[in-house]
Amino acid sequence: MSFWSKVIAITRKDALSELRTKEIISAVLVFALLVILIFNFAFGARPEAVDLVASGMLWVTFAFAGVLSLNRAFIVEKEDNCLDGLLICPMSREVIYVGKVLASLLFMLIVEAIALPVFALLFNLPVLTAQLIGITVLVTIGFVAVGTLFSALAVNTKAREMVLPILFLPIVIPLIVAAVKASELALAGKSWGELYPWLPIIISFDVIFLVVAYLIFAFIVEE
C-alpha cells in the first residue's frame, strides 16, 4: 500500500540520517545517564531510598529524555525547509505524522533499551521483567504520539526548544502518573493482573491520542 510504503520511507530516511550522525540517540542517551547519576546523588543510593523513588526516577528520566529527542524530530525538517519538500509529495499529510512517530519511537526505544539495563545495574533493581518492558514500550508510544504533534508545532514558534516541554509535559502528566504507579508495582514483582487499573489508562491514552493527533496533524503543517 502506498500509504505505508511512504511512511516507511520517511522512517527509513530518519533512521539513515541518525545512523550516520548518531546525533539524537547519543545526546539523549548521555543526558539520560547523567540524570540517573544526578538522582543518585540527590537521593542517596541507600536501598530503602531507591525502593521509594526508583520508579519515579525512571520516568522523570525518560520524560525529559523524550522532550530532548522529540525536539529534534522536526528541526531536521526545517533546516533546508524539507518540510515543504514533504508537503509537495503526492500523499496525505498524515503520512508525515505516522512516519515521524515511528522514527521517534525507534530512537526512544533504543535509548531506553540501553538506559534500562544501566539503571538496573546501578541500583540493583529487577528492571528486566516482561511487565516493566511492556509498560516502558506502551508509555513511550503515548509520549511519541503527543510529542510528535507538538514537535511539529514547536518548530514554527519563536523559542522552539522551550515550547515543547511547556506543551508536552502538562498533557502527559496522566501518562507519567500511570507509568510511575505501574512501574512501582512491576518493580515489586507484581503480575500483569495487579497492574490494573494503570495499564488500561496507559493503553487508552495511547489509542486516543494517536487517533486525535493523526486527525489534527494536517492543521499544524498546513496554512
Partner: protein, 244 residues
Amino acid sequence: MGQEASQSSAIEVRGLTKSFGDRLALKGVSLTIARGESVVIFGPNGAGKTTLVKVLATILKPTSGRVLINALEVKSSAEAIRRHIGVVTHQTFLYGNLTAYENLDFYARMFDVPRRRERVQEVAALVGMTSRLHDRVSTLSRGMQQRISIARALLHKPGIMLLDEAETGLDPQATGLLWSAMRTGENGEPRTIILTTHNLERGFALCDRLLIMGQGKILYEASRQVLDLTGLIEAYQHCTGVRI
C-alpha cells in the same frame, strides 16, 4: 469559457486571495498560463510572489478564489496535482546528512517513481552531478546542492515547473544548462514554467510573458514580443516605485 478554457491551459487562477491572520498576502490574483508557456514574475520583496508559487505548489491553501492546475482544482485534488508539478526554490528541500543519491531515492519513493535506481541516475546525469552522487549533501557546494534540488524536482517527470529564486548559488553558465534541462519536457515539448527572480535581465531572457507583482496584486502583464529590456525596467520602476 469555463471547461474548455481550463482544458487547454496549464494553470488558471481566478480571484485568488491568501491571508495570514489579518495580513493579506494575495489580494485577488487572476492569471491564465497556457501549456508550454514560460512566465516570469518580477516584484520586490513582500510582493506576494513566493506566496503565489506556494499556493500553486499546494503548500499553502487559498483563502478564496479558484486555482486550477491541468484542470484539477487545488482544494479537492491537491494530491493528484502534486504529480504534475516540480518545485525548485532557494531552499533545496534536501537532507544534509544524507548523500545526494539517498535524497533522490527518498523523493523517488515519495513520488512512486518506477525503476527508481535508473531514474535517479538519469536525473543526476541531466544536471551533471553523476560523479558526486554518493557524497553527503552537506559537503557539496551551494551550487551543487541546487543542481541536486533541480534533479529532485524532475524525478517524477512533471509537466509544470515552479521556480522560486531557483538560480540561487548557480553560476550563469550552469543556469543556462539547467534551464534547458528544466524547459525540455519528456516528449520534447517545452514544459510550462513559472519562475520568480530578482534578476530582471535573466528573467527577461528566459520568458515568453512577464508579470510584475506588488502588494499582493498583479500590476503589469506583457508579452515579451512587445517589450524590450529598457521597457521592462521602466515598467518595473513605474509599478513598484523601486529604482534600479
